[in-house]
Amino acid sequence: MAVTDNDIIQAMREDAERGCRLLMANYKEPLYWHIRRLVVNHDDAQDATQEAFIRIFRSFNQHSEENSLRAWLFRIATNEALRLLGRQKKATMLSLEDSTAELLSLKADEYYDDGDALAARLQQAILHLPAKQQLAFNLRYYDELSYDEIATVTGATAANVKANYHHAKEKIIKYMNEND
């Protein structure tokens, strides 16, 4: 039986350790891949994922049950990824207006599969987007979050998120066609 977010919240309330394990079982992969798409490098993604989970467990009582747990978790993971990028000075003056494409190199990482050229080019196209569009695209396309949930993650309105997602898609298609 699939574990729901409500099951996780209930478990966290009854037995913190069981709750933590349930949360990790459900979210370790989605949050890691979300962070990895932002920071690119595996080691950085691992550090940011661990820090994100520690932050999640330490501040779980701050999560309001009225809000989506998934959105709250992705917001913490996103913040951790942006914090790491900023801390490492990989993205000097990094903000949601900036693109990270020039700052990150896909092939610089040991855990990179260069056998899938099309998938690599798509990631390069995504990394060329401004961060707000990048986030909107990633969270919608890969993680299938709703526009409202993405709005919670990014602190924007759902309408803005929708616009960013469509702009991102258009730019990606253009990039892919030009770099075919």
Binding site: Q50, I54, F57, Y112, D116, K174, N177
Partner: protein
């Protein structure tokens, strides 16, 4: 805009990989870090436990010592003055009638245990 690129041709594939067993180990790393940070954040909790145990042990010891003195004060001291056991037995024996003395002597003469004791002493 030329709309030839199809997202379905890539789907959710990514060029990224992870080390073998990565997702199995990251969970344990996080749980260990959470436990370590919890311990670091609440160092007083364990110290408090140790202090509580120490105070309880101290109180138990104090109670045992107090009980010892109370019992000693309440129960009268037993007379432990040494006595000359042989003299008192002889005195008691002499106070017996002749018949009783004969009876006792006859009885002990037939007692095998006393006989063995006497043989041992002779050896």
């Amino acid at each position: 805009m030329d709309n030839t690129f199809d997202f379905n041709s890539v789907g959710k594939r990514m060029p990224y990989t992870v080390p073998d067993g990565f997702f199995d180990t990251i969970e344990e790393n996080v749980m260990q870090e959470v436990a370590a940070k919890k311990e670091k954040a609440n160092p007083g909790k364990n110290r408090k436990k140790v202090v509580t145990i120490a105070i309880r042990s101290l109180l138990a010891t104090a109670a045992a010592v107090a009980l010892f003195f109370v019992v000693r004060a309440v129960i009268p001291k037993a007379d432990t003055t040494p006595v000359d056991d042989f003299a008192s037995v002889e005195l008691a024996f002499n106070n017996l009638s002749n018949d009783d003395q004969d009876f006792l002597l006859a009885l002990y003469e037939e007692d095998e245990y006393i006989e063995e004791l006497q043989q041992d002493q002779e050896l």
